[in-house]
Amino acid sequence: MTQISVRVDGVTYADDVEPRTLLVNYLREQVGKVGTVVGCDTSNCGACTVLLDGVAVKSCTVLAVQADEAEVTTIEGVAAPDGTLHPLQRAFHELHGLQCGFCTPGMIMASIDLLRDHPDPSETEIREGIEGNLCRCTGYQNIVRAVQHAAGEMSGRARSDGPASDRSASPADVDTAAAPHAVVRA
């Protein structure tokens, strides 16, 4: 057993962990942060993504002891203390970027990291930026829209100035959630 001290979502924990304990298991089983989930055993799915000292990591690839003296942010800690949602959480909700929601915590954490590095990402940059996170439900399109929408909101920019080849989440998308979804009554 090794003693570690980790700050998780603003609270400091001092715990004994086995050297082999993965960060994700420490978070889930010892800290009770079950919002972070496990989707695979080969570090392919990204469901377990958290921020470690502000950088997104797959917490199934990090040992708990490696997080000693570090700051961990999980999906449970991204909303403001008064409960105001993070712009990405709002955007996933607004643009239907989730169905079963199992991938969502990891997607949101990976997207936070993506938007820090690329505040104004193109569709391609988003698709490639979240490629380490698998979603089986959504086909990703609304996730991409949500990240674009949040990017616009976070930088206070209108999103109509994106590269022409990339589709951005226009207000029309947001309002109807269906454009360019067309309906014809037969």
Binding site: N44, Q99, V184
Partner: protein, 831 residues
Amino acid sequence: MTVTEDRAATGAPEKEVGKPRRRKEDARLITGRTLWTDNLVLPGLLHMSVVRSPVAHARITGIDVSAAQQAPGVLAVLTGRDLADEQGSLPCAWPVTPDMVNPGAPAVAVDQVNHVGEAVAVVVARSRAAAADALELVDVDYEPLPPVLDMEAALAEGADLVHPGTASNRSYHWVFDGGEAGTAADTEQAFADAEVVVSRRFVQQRLIPAFMEPRSVVVQPQGDNYTVWSATQVPHILRLMLSMVTGIPEHKVKVIAPDVGGGFGGKLQVTPEEVLTLLAARRVGRPVKWTETRSESLMSAHHGRDQIQYIDIAADREGNVKGLRCRILADMGAYLRLITPGVPVLGAFMFIGIYKFPAYRFECDGVFTTKTPTDAYRGAGRPEATFAIERIMDELAVELGMDPLEVRRKNWIRAEEFPFTTAAGLEYDSGDYEAATQKALELIGYDELRAEQRRRRESGDPVQLGIGFSTFTEMCGIAPSRVLGSLSYGAGGWEQASIRMLPTGKVEVVTGTSPHGQGHETAWSQIVADQLGVPFEDVEVLHGDTAVSARGLDTYGSRSLVVGGVAVVKAAEKVVAKARRVAAHLLEASEDDLDFAGGSFSVRGTPGTSVSIQEVSLACFTSHNFPEGMEPSIDAEATFDPENFSFPHGTHICAAEVDTETGRVTIRKYACVDDIGEIVNPLIVEGQVHGGLAQGIAQALYEEAVYDADGNLTTGTFVDYLVPSAADLPHFDTGNTVSPALANPLGAKGVGEAGTIASTPAVVNAALDAVRHLGVTDIRMPLTPERVWRALQGGGDGGDRATAGTTAYGGAQTETTAGVSTPQSSLGGDR
């Protein structure tokens, strides 16, 4: 929770149905406040792990559990022998023929293992780690038997048998002959008379549902009662089946499906592990949890598809179809699970698609192999059927030198011909294939793409462009109970809903459907808001707990809205009828003089006199002033059994680029227009279509469960089984036409499977269209660069996929940083 939405501040309430309501479910999912089964911790909780067979086919000659039993923290090690008398056989609810061979399926193998990953023992220990550690200490002796892997070889005379004591590896032979059934002309005659016959062999590769939430079960024994939490699509079916399998009386078992992270048919099952967790908890008398690893999931959770299809189409020279003949081999895997044998039968009626075939015959053999059992995977039988017909229509067009869309148009049912009874005997209620096709052509920019295709062809561009169609229909909304009965299915297809009016005017809706991503809490709220005239926010939808939702048949087969949603409508109608009587009493008016609108009863022609349904609800609670002879409640429940399936349809068009130098297929554009009848929530519908497309495209381009010559699954992790990432999929342009369903008052047809069913052949047709002029006539799915390249070089269909080494994939992955790494190397494109 801070997810809220403003209600439009208008006078008359807007209709909720049809609005893109943001989902109620999201609040807990986007904040990590979700109750996945694996999140559950109970006092005294123990953990179970499963010893699994590393060999495909072998007799178990001995198991030594002594070392495992002595390991720290281990409470019990249970083998098949230990549980043989209490485990029963896992259920198969669909004996498709009276003489179907079902050798039975133990939850844990007793004498013999029949696929890699089959359970041979379980360990129950204090912690997850202790249970996993002790697995290594269980010593099993296997006496190998020859693996049975190839369906055609498995049916040959003298083939090695999967199950001892069976006469062959054939489980059943199932036939639908339109001539014999009186729904179509004689097929043999149609082929004898035909001017053109095109025959093809298509391979539906084996797929893995790969829901993102691994399966998990927690069982809490309390006296002789058992509460089972399971990541399942089918809590009601599971409760019944656990009781029937183990003999624990049904009223002593309660099943809860908490938040469930996707299913796609993969959680439409009664699994060995659900039975084993229950038996283990009963043995040790404490709560037990089992959660699978992804590798366990890919290896042992049921697989899907896996058919060999021999398709013959007959036509005249003008392209009018005359007959269709299908011979199918369907891989059951090692055992018959819940609806394993029925999956091909669900497809049997859909091979003729949207076309007016005068003659039709379908026959199918269910074949045992030493592989993981197959069962439902999104579409279940209908993607296989749609692939066959939409591929063979293209082949016919090529044979006749006609445009593929022209051949389709010549033969499809025209809008004015509905309702139309097909050669398979189904009555399609409504649709407009031409309208959907026109819309899809516009969405994709068809003429420009064809022009570009010509340019690339003429210039000999190394990257060729192709356009593929799929004008599909499907039967869903499972299902009219009588029809299921005629197909020998073991249950009905009704659905149940009840509505409870609370004293404060809030509304609880209990549904028998069991959502796991589909947004029923939102959509059902919209339906009830309209029906009862109450605010959307005032409706709470309860589901997934058999103690709360006592009756139901759960969620699969695109049935939830068109059966379960309709049950909600019917229950609401009963609530309004009861409330009307109370309102009449309160208003001292005749029931016949009352109008009900916007949640209020008012006396016709007497403005200013009205009573709201909330006031009626409160009046029921107090019961101080209530109609004589009426019980003081306006709560109601309803069970809805549909008269017919529903038949969504649509036109999907894929434009694909094929790099003739590397073999890589890239989807350039994808457009689809689906007609799923009336839409309750366009946001949810669009999401269902997107997700469905992703899975159908993945079958065409990426996914395949591969076994090596010894019967080992070589795609047993997410490194090797390519679930596509965002970078592997295109943008989708989606649209709808609306031909309301006639079989239900919502006019809805179901959307859960449409995208998956339709998209696969569109993609393959597109890729072939790009390279046909180079001599390629077929490419086996998935269309990996390796296969496409081989087909381009040497003809043929690209052949089997290499069973080891995964460089054949087209996706942006091949490597992993499995194991432990530093934070710096542990995120991003490492797949």
